[in-house]
Every structure is written in C-alpha cells, then in structure tokens.
C-alpha cells in the first residue's frame, strides 16, 4: 500500500517535471524562426470562431440564471437596484473567465490532444523531425499563441453576453430600469476588476495549451491511447483551471485590494 502510494507520488512528480520542461520548450519555440503565421491564424480562427457559439450560449443563460437568483434574494432586502453591481462583479471577476476557460478546455483541449496524439501514433511527428521541422514549433507554438489571444477575447464576449442576459432579467422580470442596472454595472468596472477579468483567461489559456499539447505529444498506445490522453487532457485542464482560479483570486486580492 505504502509502496503503491510512493510509486504514484513519484510518477506524479515525474509528470510535473516533464510538463514543466515541455511548457518551457513551448514558450521558447514561440520566439525565433521559422514563425508559422498561417498555422497560427488558422488556429485563432478554429479556436475563436469555433468556440464563439458555445461561449455565447453558456454566457447568456448563466447570466440570466444568476440575475434571477440574485434579484430574488436582493428583493428580500429591498436592494434590487444593486443587481447590476453584483452581476458586474461576479461575471467579470469569476463567471466569465471560468465559463469561457472551461468551455474552451472542453472543446479545444480535446481537439488539440486528439490531433497531436493521432499524429504521434501514426509516426507523423517523427516524419516532421526527419524533414527538419521541430514539431513543437510547428504544432504547439501556434496553438499556444492562438489560445493566449483568443481565450481573453472569448471571455470578454462571455462577460458582455452574460451581463446582457442579466439586463433582460432585470428589465422584464425584476422590473429594474435599464439605466439603474447599467449604471450599477458600470460602477464596478474598475481597473482591478477588469485586470482580474483579463489576467485569468490569459493564465487559463497557458494551462489549456500546455496540458493539451503535452498530452498529445506523450500519447502512447495507438487509438486507445489517443482516447485516454484526450479524456485526461480535458479533465486535468478543467481541474487546473478551477484550482488556479482560486489561487489567482487570492493573489489579486492580496496585491490589488485597493483597486478592486
């Protein structure tokens, strides 16, 4: 039992070590030549446009559900006019980044791992090497850049859509005036809140890129292995996003309390 625990711990440390080394290589490969511009643009399109519908859909319904819950609760205290403030805070700081991060992790991380993993199992990565092409630079770097650009953009879209969802509930169900709701939202658009709302998706993008590419590049065991890597990739990326979200919230609270 103890031996098994020790072995699991050793494997965990080994994996973390390998992931860290791989992540370093990925970041370094974004600099220097050749730069794969067309691949990066293609990935931006696939990640950004491909995830847009999903993010908009989840954003609007999550925003409405939240507004409904908050407005009912606030009504008990006669504070319905604060709905905009709470929505603005909750969505920009937490809900937007988390929702967009998890949606992209589910949709994009699985795709990246499956694509790179099946290339690995059919020797295509070795073929790239034999043609003098660095697979990390060719495949991983464009995906990293595309994610770092597109996840914050998707998050901002998610924020806007969720606030609009809340606005619909505020107007038609909670009977708050549009001006009251929007000015309350605007009041909480402070530097600290917006900074936290943009910092988080950037970090989540790195997490999704590192984990999904690493899992793809280390896939073993043919098609079954590709399936296993894909599942693990989504699972690890999602859990990591939730854990890192908590840590980032704590860190930002510690350092930027005055700006929040």
């Amino acid at each position: 039992m103890i031996r098994r625990l020790f072995r699991s711990f050793r494997n965990f440390v080994y994996e973390i070590d390998q992931l860290t080394r791989f992540s370093f290589k990925m970041v370094l490969s974004c600099f220097g030549r050749p730069i794969y511009i067309s691949e990066t643009m293609e990935q931006m399109y696939l990640i950004g446009i491909g995830s847009l519908f999903l993010v908009v859909l989840t954003g609007i319904f999550a925003g409405q559900a939240m507004a409904l819950q908050f407005s009912n609760e606030l009504a008990d205290f006669g504070s319905k006019n604060y709905l905009g403030r709470i929505m603005s805070l909750a969505i920009i700081r937490e809900l937007g980044p988390i929702l967009a991060g998890l949606m992209v992790a589910a949709r994009v991380a699985s795709g990246i791992t499956a694509e790179i993993g099946s290339m690995k199992s059919s020797n295509q990565l070795d073929a790239l090497l034999s043609f003098g092409v660095d697979p990390i630079r060719k495949l991983a770097a464009p995906r990293l850049i595309a994610l770092v650009v597109m996840v914050p953009v998707l998050t901002i879209i998610c924020d806007v859509v969720a606030i609009v969802g809340g606005w619909i509930i505020a107007i038609f169900l909670s009977h708050i005036t549009s001006t009251t709701y929007l000015s309350a939202v605007n009041e909480r658009l402070t530097f600290g809140n917006v900074f936290m709302g943009v910092l988080k998706p950037v970090v989540f993008a790195f997490i999704i890129a590192f984990i999904s590419c690493y899992k793809g590049f280390t896939t073993k065991g043919g098609t079954k292995g590709v399936g296993r890597s894909t599942t693990e990739s989504v699972m690890i990326a999602s859990i990591s996003i939730l854990i890192v979200n908590f840590i980032l919230t704590k860190v930002v609270f510690s350092f930027l309390k005055g700006y929040l």
Partner: protein, 255 residues
C-alpha cells in the same frame, strides 16, 4: 557511410538493443531481419538521430550524430530519406502537399514549381499525378507507401534510404510494386538502402547483405551465401520457415 559501434539502447528502463555493431558502405543495400519487438525499427530511429544510444556511437559519413546540435543534425539528416511504417503521410494535407512538404517548408520555391516537382516524383514512383489533390485516406496502402517514397526522395535527394516495414500489410501486387520501386532506386539513383522487415521472402530478393537481429542482439551479419551456410542455431531457427525462399533466390541468381 553508416556505422553503428557497440550501440546499447532502450526505452525507459527496458533495454532493447545490446552491443549492436554493423557497417554500411555507399550504395550498399542491407536488410535487417528479425521478429516483432527485436529492435529493428529502433535501429532506424538511431540512424536518423531521432533517439540517442545509452552507450556506443552512430556514425554517418564518419561523424558521430549523437549530441549534435539540432541544426547540424538536420544537415546530416539531409543525406537520409526515411519511409516510415505505413507511410506516415500527413493526413490533413493533399498528396501534392505531402510530396512537396520539404520544399514548402525549407525553400522559397513557388507553389506551381513545387507542384511540378511533386508531379515528376509521382511519375517516378509509377503513380498517376491525377491523385495530387486527393487526401492520403483516399489511397490504397500500396499507393500511400509509394507516395511516402516520393516524399522522401523529393525532400533532400538522399544518399541513404531507410525503409521501415515497407511491404507490411500490402497485397502481393502492391508488395511487388514497392519492391520494384526500391530496386529502381538502387539501380537508377545508386542510393544505399536499409530495409527493416519481417517479411523475409520478399526482402531476400533486394539486398546484398543481411543482418539478423534477435532480442536486440545481432546474431548474423553477412551475404546470402553466408546466410545459407550459417550454423548459428538462432539463425537456423529464425530462417527455418523461409528455407525454400532462400533456395529460390539463390537458384535464380545462379541461373
């Protein structure tokens, strides 16, 4: 040209190759035979510099390729063309993009020029250039294997070609086509060829020399006559099912 000197290698902690040594001269052909998991494909990976041995050296043109910087290693690799198991074609690219991949990646040639070269190379491997716009999944196994050969040839004008199980999974006609193509490469281009296979009957017709590898150790290295006369029990056991094929080849060469 290629020299492996007391190479030991493995994956994780499991040793796959034990003290492997052999030497290939320019223009020579060598078949590496052995059962599944005996370490045949690993030898090709080491020659291409995709892996580095635990101990021992791999020399290409007198230069030890291990520990070289990636840029220099790429220069060395330019002399070598590799046809991977099942071709390893890039499945999201068309046949034209696959064949011209090296030129797209490393030269500033126009797309039309690269397509022209890809067309010429497809004709060289006896394929209809009409397949240029198709995806690899639309081709048969034998055609994919020939596209992979065309891709390797167009890449760097190699002096050495490495074939990893070039005929595995192919029907007899496709096998014959690939074998003829390898023969044509040797005859017309004077390219040194290393073929890794466990399909002995086909391979015997292609090479000057043979290496038999069992459980990661070389148990035989020599020509056809030496192979026939070998008294090494491991060689005898390995070749027992193919005795008839060996006799056929010898007879044909003699006649």
């Amino acid at each position: 040209m290629i020299r492996l000197d007391k190479v030991n290698f493995g994956y994780n902690t499991e040793q796959v190759l034990h003290d492997v040594s052999f030497h290939i001269k320019p223009g020579e052909s060598r078949i590496i035979m052995g059962g599944s998991g005996s370490g045949k494909s690993t030898i090709l990976r080491l020659i291409l510099g995709l892996d580095c041995p635990w101990s021992g050296e791999v020399y290409i043109d007198g230069e030890n390729i291990c520990g070289q910087k990636l840029k220099h290693l790429q220069e060395i690799r330019k002399q070598i063309g590799m046809v991977f198991q099942e071709g390893a074609l890039f499945d999201s690219m068309t046949i034209a993009e696959n064949v011209g991949y090296y030129l797209f990646e490393h030269t500033k040639k126009k797309e039309s020029e690269i397509e022209q070269e890809a067309r010429r190379m497809l004709e060289f491997v006896d394929l209809d250039p009409g397949i240029m716009d198709k995806l690899p999944e639309e081709l048969s196994g034998g055609m994919r294997r020939r596209v992979a050969i065309a891709r390797a040839l167009l890449s760097t004008r190699p002096k050495i070609m490495l074939f990893d199980e070039p005929t595995t999974g192919l029907d007899p006609q496709a096998t014959k086509n690939v074998m003829n193509l390898i023969r044509k490469l040797r005859k017309e281009e004077n390219i040194a060829v290393i073929i890794v296979t466990h399909q002995i009957a086909d391979a015997l017709k292609l090479a000057d020399k043979f290496v038999v590898i069992q459980k990661g150790r070389i148990v035989f290295d020599g020509d056809m006559d030496e192979l026939r006369g070998s008294e090494n029990p491991e060689v005898i056991k390995f070749l027992a099912p193919f005795r008839e094929s060996i006799s056929d080849v010898v007879k044909r060469n003699f006649v």
